[in-house]
């Protein structure tokens, strides 16, 4: 049993974390929000320097680990770029990236990133993205699609797993910021951290974050197996739940300042939304996985 990413992947993730910081860190998402068209220009140089586009996560497990570590680092800084989507591109289509979409209302956080996008539904129906209509905050665009084929079932799992790693990076950062805040902020003459009510909320959030960390690793390892999609959906289910708990606790413990744009939590929280809502939110994800599982459990000790 090897329960952690390889040394090279972890080092790559650390290198990316430093590179994103040097490129602007928390400022990147703020600059991108002011000028969405500049997203590509803001991050492309640092991604090139990291050799991101040489990764091949669909065919090489080491690349998949490196891609996951990169996504986590990108989440830490709320990097304003559809990084996981780019890395999820299928090998058999001549496209730059893949967006997993819901049936009926296809959307993706790819607004203003002019690339050749493909889309795939959970059932494996693949399409070309032929147009975008800005649909809301978080760089989300409604996608206009043109059908390609129904051969994308094998494309979906990676397209679900990598965004969960990005979300995990956001939870890492939210916890880090909140721990720093409660150690510094004093009320009634003592740091918030000294109150057991504060401590216990943090532990509940940490259980969610650390549990997601393990599930993310498991689902990454499972890519390519027959269970990959079930495992990716189970991961996504846990990721959305974890995000709900962690961000709620982090906002609560930050108090009013956490809603202000001068705090990073405000940015992380709102930019976590596309990751949590697309292609499906908590209830729809749970419902879809339940229908897939039917009468069998997830593969495990008894399933």
């Amino acid at each position: 049993m090897i329960l952690d990413l390889g040394t090279e992947a972890k080092e790559y993730g650390h290198e990316a974390l430093r590179a994103f910081q040097a490129a602007g860190g928390d400022q990147l998402v703020q600059q991108a929000e002011a000028k969405p068209d500049a997203r590509e220009a803001l991050v492309a140089p640092v991604l090139e320097a990291l050799g991101v586009w040489e990764l091949d996560p669909r065919t090489d497990p080491d690349s998949a680990e490196a891609a996951a570590a990169l996504c986590r680092s990108a989440g830490y800084w709320a990097l304003p770029y559809p990084f996981a989507e780019r890395l999820s591109r299928p090998t058999d289509l001549d496209v730059d990236g893949l967006v997993v979409v819901a049936d009926g209302a296809p959307e993706g956080a790819v607004a203003a990133v002019e690339k050749r996008w493909a889309a795939v539904t959970l059932a494996g129906h693949r399409s070309s993205v032929t147009g975008q209509v800005a649909a809301g905050s978080g760089f989300v665009a409604a996608l206009e699609l043109s059908a390609i084929d129904n051969n994308g079932a094998g494309d979906v799992a990676l397209g679900l797993v990598l965004p969960c790693w990005t979300l995990l990076g956001m939870l890492d950062r939210a916890m880090e910021l909140t721990i720093a805040h409660v150690r510094l902020r004093k009320q009634f003459g003592q740091p918030l951290a000294s109150f057991q009510g504060v401590q216990f909320q943090l532990t509940d959030a940490e259980v969610e974050r650390s549990g997601l960390d393990m599930l993310a690793k498991y689902s990454l390892w499972s890519l390519g197996s027959d269970d990959a999609l079930d495992d990716a959906l189970a991961l996504r289910l846990a990721a959305i739940e974890a995000a709900e708990v962690v961000f709620r606790v982090c906002h609560q413990l930050h108090g009013a300042v956490g809603f202000c744009d001068e705090t990073t939590l405000s940015w992380l929280s709102r930019y976590s939304q596309p990751l949590r809502r697309l292609p499906m939110g908590l209830s729809a994800t749970r419902d879809y996985l339940t229908r897939r599982l039917a009468r069998r459990g997830l593969t495990g000790l008894y399933g």
């Binding site: 329960l3 401590q199 549990g211 599930l215 499972s222 069998r296 459990g297 495990g300 000790l301 008894y302």
Partner: protein, 389 residues
């Protein structure tokens, strides 16, 4: 990464399931029942495991074990708990009493106590908690005072599992008052058949014989009964805790029951509301999460890099899983028909499943209290997160 436990662990799992199927009755619900036959099943099963070298496989070879890998030990924990712990009370002797005696005992204590544990012949209980010392264990009041060249022990223990069936007690008592309450504590290994020891079972919703009070009325003990140095009991307690970091594999029974539910319900599974089936799915994901967190603890412990907070996060996740899954299973079990006409394997399976679920629910109520309450786990975890003392 590689989440495969390996071929040896897979073979061991298969062997254990085979033994359980052969030697444990289909309607077994653990040794804690009013039927003495259930205790006998557990005692016999331990002897069977011992004969096949599977009871103490985690022990070093020099003490009759197999030096089993941590993953083989994990498989044993999972399969035993998933099937209502057919080792009964003896799991404690195997898991930590024996290893602690190996580590801290004299040659004479090792000779006396290790073979009966290894042969599946003896039950131990743990005399730690007291009415005024639960989570705050070091505040205990049971005293052992010097009397000639021996000791006299007086006091009361409570919540002592297996005390009605145990032959020996691993007893923590105060032997002196020191500056810190963690000092001046000593471990004694005492026989439970001494007339100075009285056991009073406490009837409880957890089931018979789980909880007991144990009274020590001027119990005579000798220096030969002391484990480790006099006054050095607290460090041994810490050592005991380190063996119990992963604890029972609660997630394994949760998963087995959840996975079994649809087939036991048969066509009635379709009557289960979609919302409840969604909660079933959620619990399956939480089972996996708890299992992976357990594996992380096992891995960290094996590498010697574990911190108390690493185990705490797992303990919080698994005890909440135990309770949450029990609620879901109780609700699912309500969709099973009662008073089935006739008899037959399916009716028996349905009734047994309902009994298993109820047993799981009852026992799960204590999961956030027993073996270190969830509040203590939260304190450990938050202390690490916030680096406060």
């Amino acid at each position: 990464m590689d989440f495969d436990m390996g071929e040896k662990a897979t073979q061991l799992r298969s062997a254990l399931r085979g033994l359980i199927k052969t030697h444990v009755p289909d309607d077994f619900l653990g040794a804690f029942t009013d039927d003495p036959a259930d205790l006998e099943v557990a005692q016999r099963f331990c002897r069977t495991l011992a004969e096949q070298g599977l009871l103490c496989m985690s022990w070093p070879k020099e003490f009759g074990g197999r030096d089993a890998s941590v993953w083989e030990q994990t498989v044993v924990r999972e399969e035993m708990w998933a099937h209502h712990e057919p080792r009964g009370a003896q799991y404690m002797g195997v898991n930590w009493v024996g290893p602690i005696i190996m580590r801290h005992g004299t040659e004479e204590q090792r000779r006396q106590h290790l073979p009966p544990i290894a042969h599946g012949e003896v039950i131990w209980c743990q005399g730690f908690s007291e009415p005024e010392a639960g989570s705050d264990l070091a505040s205990l009041r049971t005293t052992a005072r010097r009397a000639g060249d021996g000791w006299r022990v007086s006091g009361q223990k409570i919540w002592t599992s297996y005390a009605t069936m145990a032959q020996w007690c691993f007893l923590l008592a105060r032997t002196s008052k020191e500056e810190k309450k963690q000092q001046g504590l000593t471990i004694f290994l005492v026989p439970m058949n001494d007339p100075a020891i009285q056991v009073r079972p406490i009837r409880a919703m957890l089931g018979p014989h789980h909880l007991n009070e144990v009274f020590f009325d001027d119990l005579k003990a000798t220096d030969a009964d002391v484990l480790g140095p006099v006054g050095g009991g607290w460090s041994i307690v810490q050592d005991v805790m380190s063996f119990e970091r992963v604890g029972i594999a609660r997630y394994a029974r949760c998963e087995r029951l959840l996975v079994a539910a649809p087939s036991v319900l048969g066509d009635r599974w379709e009557d289960v509301p979609a919302e409840l089936r969604g909660r079933w799915t959620r619990m399956l994901a939480h089972c996996r999460r708890a299992r992976l967190l357990a594996y992380r603890v096992v891995s960290l412990q094996a590498s010697g890099r574990i911190q108390p907070a690493d185990a705490a996060a797992y303990r919080i996740a698994v005890t909440k899983l135990d309770q949450d899954s029990a609620e879901v299973l109780m609700e699912i079990a309500a969709f099973m028909p009662r008073n089935n006409a006739g008899a037959g394997p399916h009716v028996a399976a349905t009734e047994y499943f309902r009994a298993e679920v109820e047993d799981h629910w009852r026992y799960s109520q204590a999961s956030t209290v027993a073996s270190g309450s969830i509040e203590v786990q939260r304190m450990l975890l938050s202390r690490a997160l916030l680096a406060v003392s």
